[in-house]
């Protein structure tokens, strides 16, 4: 009889990893967007308006500071969600560079030649993207106020204010929209991952149920072969409970039932646990059973445990008043020995599953040893 072993597929990768992979893709897209904007958009504007600046060198220097802030911010976000302090350090550097560049622009032409507002805003989006949305809102507001402050210093007329509002709407609006979009995509990826995780858990549950079902079926088959015929004979009256042999068969079957129950228990040291269960019936008969271990016992596979406990049941059922079971660690395995006053040689079950059994009878005392070799 081969118990059914359902195959459990090593399903999907850990779902957190999957959701993380999507998030990383979005982050890379934002890094490209911000870097592209600063290089092509802001850089192009800077070169185009070159003659208009009082000091092109200063504007170029601020552009480089901004580029460094973007590079640092990219490294931060590619390593994961940046902490409060590094994220805001980058954001504040970008804000300062942008404000300094705006303040150094020729009065009255600031909005026309300004390259830095957009870059600073995008840098903020880059580093604050995965932090609370309010942080990004505060940053974009601070950025707009700083530019407005410069504009007010230079004198604010109606045309300037209209221009300011137009740039604000276009630039800040686009930045907020990208940030909101990425947040939405993150949420969607999280949901997909949760769904995959649930599916994985359901599949594992099904596989576990199948394993339990197969184990139950195997136990049922085992009982069909052993305990059921005896119970049927007792019920039909063909077996006489007064007969010593029937009583002995009953003791063996009762011990086997105990062991079947013990086998399904999830305990460390299963073999010792199953031997205790096997000894239970003998102890009820008044046999004093000692179980002792020597050394740190290795885990013995189930088929080998079956052979060893079968031997234990056979010997304990024959024991008259006392039995000693010892488990000792030996080279590459375990030696389980039984010493009991059985009075005669006991028919022991066949060896197998890596277990060799020996016995010796000495003046009514039986010694038997089941040695399981791990190799």
């Amino acid at each position: 009889m081969t118990p059914v072993q359902p195959t459990v597929q090593p399903t999907v990768q850990p779902t957190a990893m999957m959701s993380g992979r999507y998030q990383r893709a979005f982050t890379i897209a934002v890094v490209f967007l911000v870097a592209g904007w600063h290089l092509a958009g802001a850089g192009g504007q800077l070169l185009h308006n070159r003659p208009a600046y009082g000091s092109f060198a200063f504007q170029g220097a601020m552009w480089l500071v901004m580029a460094l802030a973007i590079a640092a911010g990219s490294v931060l976000v590619l390593r994961g969600t940046p902490g409060w302090c590094p994220a805001w350090t980058v954001a504040v550097v970008a804000l300062a560079a942008s404000t300094a560049a705006a303040a150094a622009s020729p009065a009255g032409q600031m909005l026309a030649v300004n390259w830095s507002w957009g870059s600073a805003g995008w840098t903020g989006v880059l580093v604050l993207l995965r932090r609370r949305f309010s942080e990004l809102a505060w940053f974009l507001a601070a950025e707009a106020l700083a530019i407005l402050g410069v504009q007010v210093r230079d004198g604010l007329n109606r045309t300037d204010l209209a221009g300011f509002l137009a740039v604000l709407a276009w630039s800040t609006g686009a930045q907020a929209a990208v940030a909101a979009g990425v947040k939405a995509l993150d949420a969607a990826a999280g949901q997909a991952a949760t769904a995959a995780r649930n599916e994985h858990a359901a599949r594992e549950r099904a596989a576990t149920t199948e394993i339990i079902r197969a184990a139950r079926h195997a136990r049922w088959l085992a009982l069909q072969e052993s305990a059921v015929p005896l119970v049927a004979e007792l019920a039909a009256g063909t077996a006489d409970p007064g007969d010593a042999q029937v009583r002995s068969r009953s003791a063996v079957q009762a011990a086997r039932l105990r062991r079947l129950l013990a086998e399904s228990d999830e305990v460390p040291g299963s073999l010792v646990h199953e031997l205790h269960a096997s000894a239970d019936v003998a102890e009820r008969r008044g046999v004093a059973v000692e179980i002792e271990t020597a050394g740190l016992l290795p885990q013995v596979p189930a088929p080998a445990r079956r052979v060893i406990t079968d031997a234990a049941i056979a010997i304990l059922s024959a024991a008259r008043s006392r039995a000693r079971i010892t488990l000792a660690v030996v080279t590459s395995g375990i030696a389980v020995s039984f010493v009991a006053d059985t009075g005669a040689v006991v028919r022991l079950p066949a060896a197998g599953a890596g277990v060799a059994i020996e016995q010796q009878q000495d003046r009514g005392m039986l010694w038997a040893e089941a040695r399981w070799n791990s190799r």
């Binding site: 002792e292 050394g295 010892t326 030696a335 020995s337 010694w367």
Partner: protein, 237 residues
Amino acid sequence: MEQPVTVAIIEDHPVVTEGVASWIRSDPDQRVRLVHTARDLTGLRAVPRPAADVIILDLELSGELVTAQIPGLVAAGYRVVAFSGHSDPVIVIETLDNGAHAYVSKEEGRDHLVEAVLAAAADRPYVTRSQARAMLTDQRSARPALSQQEQQALLLWFQGMSKASVGRRMSISENTVRQYINRARAKYAATGRTAPSKDALLARAIEDGVIRAGEIMPYKSFAAPAADRPCLDAPGQ
């Protein structure tokens, strides 16, 4: 008839003391005489000390492990047989290392305690099954090197066979079985800390031909400091 061996029982549970006393009384040859009982060790520190050849010592007195007191008792000239509910091999080995002659677990008491006391009084080894288990599972770097036969005899003895059965199983005489087990015990007396009781046991083992001086070779480990080497030439001279 020889003088009976005098014994003191140090045990904090009167019912156990009573039980041990009854085992001593029921010895058909009355080979042991109980001379002193106490619930702790203070009486043994009095001057003059109570005269007793052997002390049956419960290892846990009023909830405290007293294995560390054994060297003091041994230095005062007593032979100690530990009698304890603790069967942890580490405690058993520590007890032997501190100079106790034998270790008898409370489950083994009826069959072994009187014999262990007699063996201790004669400085002869006595190995109970719980002691065999501790020796088999000893993992210390300073453990003595046991031969394969010694290990096999200890294993079968631990498993619960009589020494005669062990002999039949190993195709050797019962006396040779004793020799293997006692030799393993003597090797333990040659390792670890020094104690007059261990020297006496070793000297007697050499006299009895259980072990030859040249056979006392401790397990050599690079981890063991050189100071741990036992003094091999002291006993028997």
